[in-house]
């Protein structure tokens, strides 16, 4: 069995909004770069599957040479190989085509896992486009995966619960975060071993971009609005707080 995990290198997702700056419509280069938040959950899920199914685990990324040092963490976490498709497009169709090329190149991939967010401002569309291009099924928001014979049993996390699904054949799954797939801290010998593993660099292809052009990007100004709730009755305060948060669509 061969599992591929898609991992991308993104600017620190925790840069406080007050500190956030754009250059050329993109996050400023001074921000620390790291593997995408949910991608680490996908890697962890992949490592667990690898351990359970004695599978091979390949990490695939689309990006630049500088990303390699960051991506080595995925190897240290348990990936067997790292394939980097070289390119800097942020068009989801182009990225998906490049990833497809890498997956086709591997030849025997059974399952592709990816974090539920994409680097395309978190719209998370790359995986579904990729699944379409591969002609495989796409299942988003997956929290658990189990292999049973020829079948994959998966749990899909919803706001209000879980849906269990099963499918056979190949698939692209986007992975959500649950306590069971909190990314492991790589152990020291794996970090050192990862440094020595060769990385397969693949020349990217131009692909077919969307027929859309970026006109402008704007970051919202940070604004804080304070409201004091009366706290004579704690239960009532809590109810009011909850309804206000719902009204404002925070919950």
């Amino acid at each position: 069995m061969h599992i591929a995990v898609l991992a991308k290198v993104v600017p620190d997702y925790e840069v406080p909004s007050a500190d956030f700056e754009l250059t050329d419509s993109r996050a400023h280069s001074r921000y620390t770069r790291m593997i995408g938040l949910y991608d680490e959950n996908a890697i962890e899920t992949g490592v667990q599957l690898k351990e359970a199914c004695k599978a091979k685990l390949t990490i695939i990324s689309y990006g630049k040479t500088e990303d390699i040092s960051v991506l080595r963490k995925a190897i240290a976490m348990g990936g067997d190989a790292l394939h980097l498709v070289m390119g800097d497009s942020d068009d989801p169709f182009v990225i998906a085509e490049n990833l497809k090329m890498a997956i086709d190149g591997l030849g025997d991939v059974d399952l592709v896992l990816a974090g539920q967010q994409s680097a395309d401002m978190d719209r998370g569309v790359v995986h579904s486009i990729l699944a379409g291009m591969l002609g495989w099924q796409f299942l988003p928001q997956i929290s658990r995966i189990q292999s049973e014979g020829d079948l994959w049993m998966v749990a899909q996390a919803h706001e209000n619960g879980t849906r269990n699904l099963q499918f056979s054949g190949k698939g692209v799954l986007s992975i959500t975060s649950i306590p069971e797939n909190v990314p492991r801290i790589p152990v020291v010998r794996a970090i050192f071993a990862a440094k020595k593993k060769p990385v397969e660099k693949i020349e990217g292809i131009p692909g077919t971009p969307m027929n859309a052009k970026e006109v402008s990007v704007e970051i919202p100004k940070m604004e804080s609005v304070c409201e004091f709730l009366p706290i004579e009755d704690m239960a009532e305060t809590a109810t009011t707080l909850l309804s206000k948060l719902r009204e404002e669509r925070y919950l």
Partner: protein
């Protein structure tokens, strides 16, 4: 009348043969201890240059803590009882030896003043004192305090106490019958008292008691290594070999063999079995008295966390005794939750009369869990991931690195121009409440006209990684800092956080980073003493919470108190100074989901109970923990860093 040795006894010299047997059995048992301890690794440590250190032996510590038992007297009744017993038995031992020397070589010990004062009065006094000590310990074994039985009581002490009591009582009976038969010995006050009640004609009973006394003595000696009484040798040895520098000394690790293609074998990181520990650690476990003093002072144990430092020691001691040195289940038996509940406050070390380094053992297990097994509680893991990704552990922070100094004109450290590096540290950079410490310190330094500057990029020293067990991450962060300091030519550093101070002074020098480091509390004290700043006294009462990493670990107690003394009336909590109670934030536990009572609430309550108007501290982690802790009891902001109080007094 001159006392006659072996009075009424035939073949008394035979007792020396029994003594020889006892000594052989004793030596065999003691050798067994050595064989067990020898299974640990040989300690590789550079000699610490201390006056009076001979080879690996810290002579001062051996005398004060090992022989005089200075730490025992922190519990006055136990201390005095132990003193009575130990010194009493020692004097009795000397007396017995003198008798043997008299018999063998005619040493004139039964003559004149020496006989009257030492052989009669002093030996009776010693026996009496030892008996009182034994009675105290016997009663305490029957009615034990909680610390002796939690999580487990040590059996075996009572047998030896019983034997010793029998030895002393038979000794007095023998003396009483002898005096009753041969006439009073005015200086042997116990013997005379006994003689008043005993018949001088009971010569057969005297003989039986004499032999009973002698054989029980030999039994006691032979049994020592097979009983907890072995502590009379193990504890002084452990004390003599324990580095007297306060706090847990974790050293730094060399990871070069992990990078070395030709290295035969990579070392195991941290410890998972008893054989992974050094001989000194195994000696720790063998020396443990199971007295529970560490358990009693441990903030984790006293707030219903699953950790008991005594429990850890007891588990290891039992495995060592049973020869289970290869047992891989140690960590699972002690439990991961217990090991990560340690705040590394080192209160246990401070309290331990046997000079045992409990936190070091705990941290060695943590190192293995984190660096070899990738096992760590979720929140700590997130903090560690953040450290790896962003060089600070404050994940989910809403603050940017420059937020603390917005609207302030803070100079950047300039090579060759700036005198002090003001090291801001991670908590002060990223935690909103702690940011005020740096803002206050900047005001103080500006007012005092100090030449200082900050780094352009803020970073953590690596302390949280080290205390959570990730020595590798610590060394990477420390190396980055050292390289930057070298580039900038940094020589003097002012720290705002005692954790940074501790790292810079203890862990950076072995990695090549040598600086003059001054905690901000000390620096402020110096500025006030030098008249550089003159803060106004608000006349308020201020209670001071000693941060573990500043006080207990680095013995800085006076400077912050001097500062507070200039600002108002200093109030002390019942637990302060070296006996201070942790805020709960150390050892990565700032990122812990606490079970049981929250440590910061216990400490905050203790501070509030003093009735002081304000709570002062000198550590950003303590400030954050206590600010949070007081919220349970009052809405009023009560906790402040001393820099904030001083800056307020400058306005």
């Amino acid at each position: 009348m001159t006392r006659i040795p072996y009075w009424n006894i035939s073949y008394g010299i035979l007792i020396d043969l029994f003594a020889l047997v006892a000594v052989i059995v004793f030596a065999r048992g003691a050798y067994g201890h050595w064989l067990r301890i020898r299974q640990g690794k040989v300690r590789v440590r550079k000699a610490v240059d201390l006056p009076g250190k001979i080879g690996p032996v810290f002579v001062y510590a051996l005398v004060t803590k090992g022989i005089l038992g200075a730490k025992l007297y922190k519990k006055i009744f136990t201390g005095v009882a132990h003193g009575f017993l130990f010194w009493g038995m020692l004097v009795l031992g000397v007396g017995t030896t003198l008798v043997v020397l008299n018999v063998l070589f005619g040493l004139p010990v039964f003559q004149g003043g020496f006989n009257r004062w030492f052989m009669s009065f002093f030996l009776d006094l010693a026996g009496f004192a030892a008996l009182i000590g034994l009675l105290f310990f016997l009663i305490r074994r029957w009615l034990p305090p909680e610390r002796l039985v939690t999580p487990k009581a040590r059996i075996g002490f009572s047998v030896q106490i019983g034997i010793l009591m029998a030895v002393i009582i038979t000794g007095f009976l023998v003396e009483g019958i002898r005096i009753a038969a041969t006439g009073p010995d005015p200086y042997a006050f116990v013997g005379n008292f006994m003689a008043a009640w005993l018949p001088g004609s009971a010569l057969a009973a005297h003989r039986i008691l004499w032999w009973g006394h002698g054989l029980l003595c030999m039994l006691f000696i032979a049994y020592i290594p097979y009983s907890p009484m072995m502590h009379i040798l193990l504890v002084p040895t452990n004390t003599a070999l324990a580095d007297p520098m306060p706090g847990s000394k974790m050293g730094v690790m060399d990871f070069s063999s992990f990078d070395d293609e030709d290295a035969e074998e990579m070392p195991t990181l941290g410890c998972t079995r008893l054989v992974d520990f050094t001989r000194k650690r195994l000696l720790d476990y063998a020396s443990c008295l199971w007295c529970g003093r560490c358990h009693e002072v441990c903030p984790a144990a006293s707030t219903e966390k699953p950790l008991s430092p005594k429990g850890v020691m007891v588990t290891l001691a039992e495995r060592l005794t049973n020869g289970q040195v290869e047992d891989e289940n140690l960590i699972d038996d002690i439990t991961e939750e217990a090991l990560f509940a340690c705040t590394t406050c080192t209160a246990c070390m401070e309290a331990c009369p046997a000079c045992i380094n409990q936190p070091k053992t705990i941290l060695k297990f943590r190192q293995n869990l984190v660096m070899e097994q990738s096992r760590i509680p979720e929140l700590m893991g997130k903090a560690m991931t953040s450290l790896e990704q962003r060089a600070h552990p404050f994940f989910g922070t809403g603050s940017g690195p420059k937020e603390w100094c917005k609207d302030l004109d803070v100079p950047i450290f300039a090579k060759g121009e700036t005198e002090y590096l003001l090291w801001i540290g991670c908590s002060v950079t990223y935690e909103e409440r702690a940011q005020k410490i740096a803002r206050a310190m900047v005001r103080i330094l500006d007012r005092a006209g100090v030449s200082y500057g900050i780094l352009e990029e803020s970073r953590c020293t690596g302390d949280p990684a080290k205390q959570m067990g990730n020595e590798f991450m610590f060394s990477e962060l420390a190396q980055t800092n050292i390289e930057e300091f070298d580039d900038l030519g940094v020589e003097k550093i002012i720290t705002l956080c005692p954790h940074c101070y501790n790292s810079f002074t203890r862990h950076y020098p072995p990695m090549g980073g040598n600086y003059t480091v001054i905690p901000h509390a000390v620096f402020i004290d110096q500025l006030i003493a030098g008249g550089k700043i003159v803060p106004r006294s608000g006349g308020q009462s201020i209670v001071y919470h000693d941060p573990c990493y500043l006080g207990r670990r680095n013995r800085i107690f006076d400077a912050p108190r001097n500062v507070i003394g200039r600002l108002g009336r200093l109030v002390e909590m019942p637990r302060h100074g070296a006996e201070s109670f942790c805020c709960g934030g150390g050892g990565g536990n700032y990122w812990a989901e606490e079970v049981g009572t929250r440590i910061n609430q216990v400490r905050s309550k203790e501070a509030l109970d003093t009735g002081a108007e304000r709570i002062a501290t000198a550590c950003p982690f303590c400030l954050l923990m206590i600010t949070d802790g007081t919220k349970k009891f009052t809405e009023e902001p009560k906790a402040f860093d001393i820099a904030e109080l001083v800056a307020e007094g400058l306005e």
